[in-house]
């Protein structure tokens, strides 16, 4: 029924708009009938799969494999055949440190600074993100007036582009910004937040939580709503206290969703780039330089660009991401099994 409705409602304008499309599709049909006669049904399956696989092969698979070759070459040339083979030199360079606990003792000190920053960012952002979105989901799961409105409130920033998010907060955190205005009311002097190393770092954590928490809240909320209400009713009959009900019913039943969300947040946090690049540009100094920005700048932006080194760094990051994704897949599979058993 649903699929038919656009036809019926848009019979006037819709028909005229679709007319050329229809004609084109009709024209394509004749050669495709011929193809079908020659290649058979199986050939048609290949035909339907072809465009996707072609694009996918050229722009995802090929670069994926070339990346390994890339990471073993040196120089600044762009195309692989022009590049000189250096073996594991790029990796050796990344790992060349006199003291493994001090980023500044490494040849590629910015890489390790970026890794360290990303590590701290991931730890803080993931923890806070989970706490904030779990609380929000729990609150939205209550018997609320206008729940879909409140859900939309928290979801709103998810759709904004990272650039817009970065600019919104850059505008608020600057010297004449809203934050200083608010604090001024309490007698504080204006402060340039993004010029301070620690505050800039905190800002990147806070802003990325602000921008994405609605997404994870939504997944957790779906998990909460799948928990049968009668469990709580039974618990209430037995005189169970709400905190105990939360620890014994909500958390265990939400655990699969929670784990998936943790891994999703982790994967996204490791790759943080866009909004930070606009908000702080990695500064002040290197205090908010994260690993994706390091790869981007090493590969493209600096004067002495070194695509081989960037490729090696991106492969190291890729390994971390693959481990995390496999973790997510196995977790979601085990949660699916549990769901099936229920």
């Amino acid at each position: 029924m649903k699929a038919d409705s656009p036809k019926r409602t848009g019979s006037g304008i819709g028909e005229t708009v679709l007319l050329p499309v229809r004609l084109a599709m009709g024209l394509i049909d004749a050669p495709l009938r011929w193809l079908q006669r020659v290649a058979g049904i199986g050939g048609m399956a290949a035909f339907f799969l072809m465009p996707n696989m072609l694009i996918f092969g050229i722009f995802v698979l090929l670069p994926f494999f070339i990346n390994f070759a890339y990471s073993m070459t040196g120089g600044t040339a762009l195309f692989l055949p022009d590049r000189s083979f250096v073996g594991g030199d790029q990796y050796a360079r990344l790992f060349d440190c006199s003291n493994y606990l001090d980023a500044n003792s490494c040849t590629e000190d910015t890489f390790w600074t970026a890794v360290g920053n990303t590590g701290w960012f991931v730890i803080l952002q993931v923890t806070l993100m989970i706490i904030v979105s779990l609380i929000t989901a729990l609150i939205l799961n209550r018997n609320l007036m206008a729940r879909s409105f409140w859900r939309a409130v928290f979801f709103f920033p998810v759709l904004l582009s990272p650039v817009v998010v970065g600019l919104i907060w850059k505008w608020i955190l600057q010297r004449q910004g809203l934050l200083n205005f608010g604090l001024y009311g309490f007698g504080f002097e204006p402060f340039t937040w993004l010029n301070d190393r620690n505050w800039a770092f905190a800002a990147t954590v806070g802003v990325s939580i602000w921008a994405h928490m609605g997404f994870y809240t939504l997944i957790l909320l779906a998990g909460l709503q799948a928990i049968p209400k009668d469990l709580y009713e039974a618990a209430e009959m037995d005189g169970t206290r709400p905190t105990r009900a939360f620890l014994r019913i909500t958390l265990p039943l939400l655990a699969p969703n929670l784990l998936v969300v943790v891994v999703l947040v982790l994967i996204k946090a490791v790759q943080i780039f866009d909004e930070v690049y606009v908000l702080t540009g990695g500064g002040p100094g290197t205090s908010t330089l994260y690993i994706t920005q390091y790869i981007y700048e090493t590969g493209f932006a600096t004067q002495l660009r070194n695509p081989g080194l960037a490729a090696a760094a991106s492969i190291l990051m890729g390994v971390v991401l693959v481990v995390l994704t496999l973790l997510q897949l196995s977790l979601s599979r085990s949660s699916e099994k549990k769901g099936a058993r229920k």
Binding site: A46, P51, F79, W150, L160, I168, W171, L178, I219, G281
Partner: protein
């Protein structure tokens, strides 16, 4: 009075207020402020003149100092409400400021200069929306160009995404062939290969194909999305195979089956994918930043970030352009939010 309070505070089921209710409402109202506040502040600021943007503490609404043209002075002068040394109040125009003393004239009698301590004067202000923040970028910057590039990338990429992925989903859901599972796994495995991991070699491939500094170089790498294949395939699996068999009996070609039967029936899933795709492509940043280095090819996102990273940021233009960039996404949010939230809750994919 207490009756009114009682009416407003009474709750469903006649239960009293629990501390968790108070926490709930503090969280929700705080959330409303924190989530919408920054965006609203940005929109409000975008109507302020550069002078109003530079002042601290900022005003909530866009005010400008009123100006007046005085005989004998080339430029319009700022108007002030000043307390004269003898205690009278008057509306005067400021000629110049020396230290803490302001030299002012009465607009009616421009001959005589009056000296007023700057503490003794307040500007005469009026509300005014600086619409030129919006109109000037269209003429000064290549703003129209960026807008057009963004629209072109978004629309083209979404159309190709729909066609290419629905064809693949059709093959993967309605045909039995060797390697089907392998193809499906391969596509899903792509979820593990984000752009940040392959951007260096992808750049060389796009350059080799002559797509560097070309909008197609932005479009093509994004269109074969695993999420799209996944959503569409799940939906097509629910379409009964009998429909296809019946069509084959009626001598329909496979292409007609795809085009006349499967696609119309998949419309709801296609709509969801289209909405997602529009938001993704409109918001894309890192890849366009790499591929597009010529100014006239920038998308809105790239243009905005480049201009906002300049040394002398022209915030009044940046803010207005940011608002324009937000518009399509806000429209999607207002009218189509329901589709997106159910889409996410259903698949767990962004």
């Amino acid at each position: 009075m207490s009756r009114v309070a009682e009416f407003l505070l009474r709750r469903k089921g006649g239960k009293g207020w629990h501390w968790t209710d108070i926490v709930t409402w503090i969280w929700l109202l705080g959330g409303l402020f924190v989530m919408f506040g920054p965006a609203v502040w940005l929109v409000g600021s975008s109507f302020k003149s550069p002078a109003a943007l530079a002042e601290f503490p900022p005003s909530i609404l866009p005010y400008v100092t009123q100006k007046v043209t005085v005989e004998g002075y080339d430029k319009p002068l700022d108007l002030y409400e000043a307390t004269l040394p003898d205690g009278r109040k008057a509306t005067l125009a400021e000629v110049r400021r020396i230290g803490i003393v302001s030299q002012m004239v009465d607009p009616q009698k421009p001959g005589e200069i009056i000296k007023v301590n700057i503490g003794q004067r307040t500007p005469v202000r009026q509300m005014s929306f600086a619409m030129q923040n919006y109109s000037e970028p269209f003429t000064h910057f290549d703003f129209v160009r960026y807008l057009w590039n963004s629209v072109f990338v978004t629309v083209t990429a979404t159309l190709i995404t729909l066609v290419v992925n629905s064809m693949a989903a059709f093959a993967l859901s309605k045909y039995e062939f060797r390697g089907r599972t392998f193809a499906m796994l391969l596509i899903l495995a792509t979820l593990m290969v984000p752009l940040s991991v392959i951007m260096v070699p992808l750049y060389s491939i796009v350059s080799a194909l002559g797509l560097f500094n070309n909008l197609w170089g932005v479009i093509l790498p994004t269109v074969a999305t695993p999420t799209g294949v996944f959503i569409l395939r799940q939906y097509m699996l629910t379409i009964p195979d009998e429909l296809i068999d019946a069509a084959r009996m009626d001598k329909a070609s496979e292409w007609q089956i795809y085009w006349r039967i499967i696609l119309p029936l998949t419309a709801p899933a296609l709509a969801v994918l289209a909405i997602f795709s529009v938001v993704w492509r409109w918001n894309d940043f890192l890849w366009p930043l790499i591929v597009l280095s010529r100014k006239e090819l920038y998308t809105l996102q790239v243009g905005l970030s480049i201009y906002s990273g300049e040394l002398n940021v022209q915030w009044h233009f940046i803010l207005a352009m940011t608002v324009v960039t937000m518009i399509p996404v806000v429209l999607v949010f207002i009218f189509l939010q329901r589709f997106i939230t159910t889409g996410i809750a259903g698949t767990g994919l962004k």
